[in-house]
Symmetry: C2
Subunit: 320 residues, 2 copies
């Protein structure tokens, strides 16, 4: 982290980008770091190739997020991106090669593409940003605290994930004491789902299937159209499926606009779906991973399920 | 609380009961208090008129929960019950009249039926039990801490409800430090849903309806049968509906085995559905309440919806 702090302190202008289809940890980390660096007098560009979901519009700096690639900034920072593909069209190989790139992330599959890599095993990138900026003399204002707490509660589904310990609760208390409102954030982040999403869940849950200890469902373009849903509104579905008793792995196969199939995976304790996602060019965490695969839905589904069945078999063989 | 502590200290035997269709706060409070009193050398009966949900079987004392009414115990304690009807067949008016009854709860609609009433505005009854037993010289063992943390995370949906503040996070840290595992509890409490429940959600969400800012769905006995679900597996549905954007009130109407209709309600900030539930003989909290009404589903639905529309109108008139 020291090298990252040194580069940031020395920079007059910083370009920060988060990943496409941004979630609360991507946006919260982007804004939390951006506001902190602005407080230190840096000129700061905050970028995302996809529009930030409107439910984060309560965060300070939200309006400043742009979809433009780096320009002449001294330093480039990426947040919550395990590889440069996650930047979408913001990745510009030439510019990235010419600047110091600081890669701030918490994904185990992070490929360390930065000149400086700040990759932790914390439950959220927002906590990584918090650990980075605190010793830099940044005053944690209510705006910065709100952005970081939004990241923390998003990636831990409000402290429900298996990697949460007292450290996360203490960080939350510190951010609340700095002015963030946990109540407001959970209300705005978890309680403003479009009705189209509820429709999509109804469609998807009506066709849940199981094979051994695998549970999955499929969301095709027709269902998305019928509900007037946006592509990312199947988001929480896979976590819901993973809550079923006796399930080792839950998946949602979603047909994207470009016809490719996105597979989101969640695994029970002791399973590693990140390795399966990696086989298909994706990534993530051992218990929450994803990939996007070209092909027809039934074909992709069978290939991914076969890889998962193999992973379950391997675990059974290697278990004591 | 002092009177309650005095009675409990003086008792040799204590009968504790929680409400029918028990949730994690009912079971956690029951076991947390029961284990604490046993540690103090009391003979302790822990009772519930309905079977405790199996997902709480990891809690110490779970096997000791019985469905028998009070016998010759010195003191009767009820936990998480706003009135004696919530005790089901465990309520025995004569025995309750002859003993000291301590009513430990956190529902705003609690009717203060005890000789001693310990009714707080804390987010969970488990926290109320914790506040009660700490000054009694009880060592908060890992078993007691696990029971109480289960209550806390259940009733706050893991710190997501609007009444959560740093106090709850600090209590959680104290209980974790005493040996409770937040990870294990959230895994076991939130991630062991029967597949029948997922089926039931699919059925129910396929028929979501809206009227103004009210959203609701209906679960009839045919749907419950089709999915092989138990009656309480529509539980989280109403919270999910309440997460829809622009919704003031969410409801789930569920046909019970006896043909009566249970209406579960959730409200957005500033609304009070407890008052609506009270009109129909139910109760709860301003933002989470319920009632059970005799009649056919369409008729009950229209009566309850009319009362809610009136409550929304009243709020609009009284708003500044």
């Amino acid at each position: 982290m020291r090298a990252a702090r040194r580069h940031l302190k020395g920079a007059r202008s910083v370009y920060i980008a988060c990943h496409i289809m941004p979630d609360g940890d991507a946006i919260g980390s982007l804004l939390g770091l951006g506001l902190a660096l602005r407080q230190l007098g840096k000129h700061c560009t905050m970028a995302c190739d996809d529009p930030a979901p409107l439910k984060f519009d309560f965060l300070a700096g939200f309006e400043d997020i742009v979809a433009q690639p780096p320009d002449a900034e001294d330093v480039i920072v990426t947040v919550d991106c395990s590889d440069t593909e996650r930047l979408g069209a913001l990745f510009d190989a030439q510019r990235f090669a010419r600047r110091v790139v600081i890669n701030i992330d918490h994904h185990v599959t992070n490929v360390r593409f930065g000149d400086v890599n700040v990759v932790t095993d914390l439950p959220s990138t927002a906590e990584t940003v918090y650990a980075l900026i605190r010793p830099m003399g940044v005053e944690i204002t209510a705006d910065i605290a709100s952005a970081l707490l939004t990241g923390l509660v998003t990636d831990t589904r409000c402290f429900r994930t298996g990697n949460v310990a007292t450290k996360q609760l203490k960080t939350a208390i510190a951010l609340i004491n700095a002015g963030a409102s946990l109540t407001e954030i959970t209300e705005l982040v978890f309680n403003r789902e479009p009705i189209a999403k509820i429709c999509l869940w109804g469609q998807a849950l009506a066709n849940v299937q199981t094979r051994g200890s695998i549970i999955w469902t499929e969301v095709d373009r027709q269902m998305i159209r019928k509900c007037g849903a946006s592509p990312d509104e199947g988001g929480g579905l896979v976590s819901f499926l993973a809550s079923a008793m006796g399930v080792d792995v839950a998946l949602v196969f979603r047909e994207q606009d470009d016809g490719r199939i996105e597979a989101s995976m969640r695994a029970g304790p002791g399973m590693d779906v990140a390795s399966v996602a990696l086989q298909f060019g994706g990534g993530g965490h051992p218990r929450a991973a994803g990939c996007t695969v070209a092909g027809e839905l039934p074909d992709v589904r069978e290939r991914v399920l076969a890889a998962i069945e193999e992973a379950i078999r391997q675990r059974e063989i290697s278990a004591p």
